[in-house]
């Protein structure tokens, strides 16, 4: 399906240059962001980190208190020189988290709303709306009202509505969060295709590492109103700058104290690492780097920790085992070995980690919230 049209009306040249500053009692959003045409940025961060506020600022629904917003050589907002282009004139497509499909309009008229507002005649607007509903795979639902659509269908209509207005900048606020996992997976694949064909800039707020890793070219990590990391998805997943993102991408995050290459972890566990550090550190490693055995293996006692199985659950093709070793570790093992070893909750086992698969960073990991309760 490569029927996406690039219209004469919208301006994809230039791209987004945003310096956004918003002051609210108790917190400040201060973010600098650049994105070129065709780029898809995932914005991740904990609740309250400013993701949705950022989207609203870009859309023109929230005034900036400082900074400057430009698209190409057009200034969208510059509080310093009192320039402000309204939301209606920005050509921004917004899919809010709760969609906000107009309840009194059919799916078709919802999607035709944007083209109508951009001055198209009713018949032409409806024709375009029908095309977009077809592209999103919900053409046969055009006569339904929003309350007659399932969650996934409504999400498709909302995306069609945003795209039909031919925005330069597409803002998606957790587009897959409310959907059943199966529906989300299907739509994620399609969304990847639509975004690849879309020549504007896309910002995608998400709480799901899979969205960030599969849909985005770049991941922007927000924490307490600031960008703490901005990089390729694989890089962010490998070396996450915040504990939130580390957990988001499914890494084990352990805190300990390092002396030379030896890290002491909670519960007297010891980890030998490849790099030298002194002082408090944070160690991350993927669950696939952990092996589980019933007895400690012969040889080095390092990087092997006794623990009790807390829970066992299927995870993709593997089985994810949660152990209370070293303050809490996730291990992915094959279903075959889980069965053979009899890994059930309550069982005492040994977890081993390959030192080469761990990443150690000084605790300056900085932006980690200090009020977080101790890990179980």
């Amino acid at each position: 399906m490569t029927t996406h049209r690039t219209s004469a009306g919208h301006d994809t040249g230039g791209g987004l240059h945003a310096r956004v500053r918003v002051e609210r009692p108790g917190h400040v959003l201060d973010v600098t962001l650049d994105a070129g045409p065709g780029e898809v940025l995932a914005v991740v961060g904990p609740n309250g980190s400013g993701k949705t506020t950022l989207l609203r600022c870009l859309a023109g629904l929230q005034r900036l208190h400082g900074g400057r917003l430009t698209w190409g050589d057009r200034v969208w907002e510059d509080p310093g020189s009192r320039v402000r282009v309204t939301a209606a004139e920005r050509q921004v497509g917004l899919v809010p988290q709760d969609l906000r499909l107009f309840p009194h309009l059919t799916a078709l008229d919802n999607v035709a709303f944007g083209p109508r507002c951009r001055g198209e005649r009713p018949a032409a607007a409806r024709r375009r709306a029908r095309e977009w509903l077809e592209v999103l795979g919900v053409g046969e639902l055009s006569g339904r009202r929003p309350d007659q659509l399932s969650g996934g269908q409504a999400q498709r209509v909302a995306i069609a509505r945003a795209l039909a207005a031919e925005p330069s900048l597409l803002l998606l606020d957790e587009p897959l969060a409310a959907l059943d996992p199966g529906v989300a997976m299907t739509l994620r694949l399609e969304l990847a295709r639509h975004l690849a064909a879309y020549d504007g800039v896309t910002l995608l707020v998400t709480h799901d590492a899979v969205d960030a890793l599969t849909l985005a070219h770049r991941v922007v990590v927000l924490d307490e109103g600031r960008v703490v990391q901005d990089g390729a998805p694989a890089e962010v997943a490998r070396r996450p700058a915040t504990e939130h993102v580390a957990r988001l991408v499914g890494l084990n995050v352990l805190r300990g104290r390092s002396r030379g290459t030896l890290v002491t972890l909670p519960g007297e566990a010891v980890l030998a690492t490849a790099t030298e550090h002194d002082g408090p550190v944070v160690v991350t490693f993927p669950p696939t780097a952990v092996t589980v055995a019933l007895e400690p293996s012969a040889g080095s006692a390092r990087n092997q920790w006794p623990g009790r199985i807390v829970s066992v659950a299927p995870h993709g093709l593997a089985v994810r085992v949660h152990l209370d070793a070293a303050g809490g570790v996730l291990a992915d093992v094959t279903a075959e070995s889980a069965g053979r070893l009899g890994l059930t909750p309550g069982r005492e086992v040994w977890a081993a980690v390959k030192a080469t698969e761990t990443t150690v960073r000084a605790e300056s990991f900085g932006t980690m919230p200090t009020h977080r309760p101790p890990l179980p």
Binding site: G93, D98, F113, C117
Partner: protein, 272 residues
């Protein structure tokens, strides 16, 4: 658990008597006067009364002025309600308080206030008189009086309806390129229409029953300002049974309108 449901026994036990007894008293208190009207009315005189020119004039005038006043409430009150619900400014709470005053104002006082504004020597009335327009003691005065007392009913209920139609829809419409007027016309208004119907009904009913402000500001002239409540009051002086019958007629007319509107509008609300 299901046993209680089968027998109709409330799951939390029977309602306490000290709530139930006053509730029954309240119901009887409302029903008794209505029952009195129905039982005391000389039903056999109904056809003659209905054929009476003065009665028909008053009934027509009541329905006409109530309907026009409701229309004025919508045309002026909806923009006011929108301003209260959708804009941020310091004067908002002042305006809202001002709009609500006629709710708590005795109707006679409202009539006096209207005279002070639109009377021959009133604030605006003096200018109107110079322009050759006399408002008091005309049918226009009836509509003004009705609008004055009915406006808060409409504005407050319309504002409630506008607030419950989240402004997030406005935000989405804006990103789709709609200016605020287009958003109002194509998104907000259709969404709040069922809610507005309730406000219109309240305004219409308040207007139909209006007495004090009308008699003070518009007088009691058969054919031009004598609405049904005024006629009923006049008739009550020397022919109480006829007043009963006319009262019943007015109640019947308003209930009829209520039922017709309910089928038309509230039916749609429920279907949504």
């Amino acid at each position: 658990m299901t046993r209680g449901g089968v027998t109709g026994e409330p799951a939390l036990g029977p309602p306490p008597l000290r709530l139930l007894v006053p509730a029954v008293v309240a119901g009887v208190f409302v029903a008794l006067p209505l029952l009195g009207l129905v039982l005391r009315s000389p039903w056999e005189r109904m056809p003659t009364l209905l054929a009476d020119a003065a009665v028909r004039e008053a009934l027509w005038l009541s329905v006409l002025t109530a309907t026009v006043a409701t229309a004025v409430c919508v045309v002026l009150g909806l923009p006011l309600a929108w301003t209260l619900a959708r804009t941020e400014h310091r004067g908002r709470s002042v305006v809202r308080g001002l709009v609500a005053i006629p709710l708590v104002m005795p109707p006679v006082v409202a009539g006096v206030a209207l005279l002070a504004a639109f009377g021959r020597t009133g604030l605006a009335g003096a200018y109107l008189l110079d322009a050759g327009v006399t408002v008091p003691f005309t049918t226009v005065a009836v509509v003004l009086a009705h609008t004055f007392v009915a406006l808060p009913f409409f504005v407050l209920s319309a504002e409630g309806a506008l607030r419950s139609a989240s402004s997030e829809y406005d935000a989405v419409a804006a990103t789709l390129g709609a200016d605020r007027w287009t958003t109002f016309r194509r998104v907000t208004l259709p969404m709040v229409l069922p809610g507005l119907a309730a406000g219109m009904l309240l305004a219409w009913a308040r207007s139909l029953g209006e007495f004090g402000a009308t008699v003070t500001f518009a007088g009691n002239y058969p054919g031009t300002t004598q609405t049904m409540p005024l006629l009923i009051y006049s008739v009550l002086q020397d022919d109480p049974p006829a007043a009963y019958a006319l009262s019943l007629l007015l109640v019947g007319a308003s209930v009829l309108v209520l039922v017709l509107l309910r089928d038309r509008w509230l039916g749609q609300v429920r279907a949504r």
